[in-house]
Amino acid sequence: MEADDLTLVSRAKAGDRDAFRALVVRYQRKVYAVALGIVRDRDLAWDVAQDTFVRVYSHLSSFKEESAFASWLFRIATHLSIDVVRKERTASKDDVDEVRESALEDGAEGILSTPLGNDPQDNLLRRELRDRISDALDGLPEKHRTILVLREVEGLSYEDLAERLAINKGTVMSRLFHARKKMQAALRRYAGRRGASNE
């Protein structure tokens, strides 16, 4: 039976190198997935993922074992990913969190109303859309990408997102709403073109 996180952390703190390696292997893919979602570059995400574990190792002595190791690990991964992105970007004037009337008018037709969306093969639609996610994510501002990735890759609840990003629950909900809307708009453009080409 595999040791749980806290057992491995205790052993790693005591100098067990294999225990630390086991933690790396356990979480490497998910940490990479979170980093990739935010930084959008495979090589950068690889570096961020490695940086995350190196930093975790360096601060292992200060980790309090009453907390969840995974939360601490992904918090570090999130901050390192955001730091990488923010070094290069400038703030966009479109980065508002509140939900406005314009949200109701933009893109009144959804993916389900496109020719591809009307295709009875729902699995095919989903697979095709998933393959376009990368392009769609590339078009999102960092703030929206980050919250979407933390919600869907790490699986954080509204409460956890509020804590991780130091925003309140209302802002979590509206920011997620905007992130999804932009994602839908990008996928809708693809679904409309793709469906039309199938006809």
Partner: protein, 145 residues
């Protein structure tokens, strides 16, 4: 091998003697902004459960968390925090020693300056605005949350 151990020992001794603070890793700290109110229905935000024993010493009947920030704090580097009404304040990690942590909290608008030393499993609750309309804001500082 022995030479390296001896050399490392000498260097370690001089470091222990002269640079204890510089070797300290950053301390994760959770800073929360909370609001106490005397009016309205009594309620206690579940996110503040760990502060219950401290907050129930005060006469506010309603407690809500309005903001939370998590920082990795280094000694001597202040963190700026903004209250919901825009009032700025700073929190600085003064010292993280073996069993204790010392923070400095300043609210320039109120010319308030506090330095508090707590054990590592404790938290600070500090009023940071005057009471208006029966409500006041507090800041909580929690190392290693």
């Amino acid at each position: 091998m022995i030479c390296r151990i001896v050399a490392a020992a000498a260097l370690a001794a001089s470091l222990f003697a002269s640079l204890p603070a510089a070797a300290a890793p950053p301390v994760p700290v959770r800073i929360r902004i909370i609001k106490g109110a005397r009016d309205g229905a009594a309620s206690f935000d579940s996110q503040l459960a760990d502060l219950r024993k401290q907050l129930e010493r005060l006469s506010y009947v309603r407690w809500d968390q309005t903001g939370v920030e998590n920082h990795d704090m280094s000694t001597g580097k202040p963190i700026d925090v903004k209250l919901p009404d825009g009032t700025p304040l700073t929190v600085t990690l003064v010292e993280a020693a073996t069993g204790t942590v010392t923070f400095e909290l300043k609210v320039p608008a109120q010319k308030t300056h506090s330095r508090l030393t707590i054990s590592k499993d404790q938290r600070i609750v500090h009023q940071v605005t005057e009471e208006k309309g029966g409500s006041a804001y507090f800041v909580t500082v929690h190392p290693w949350p």
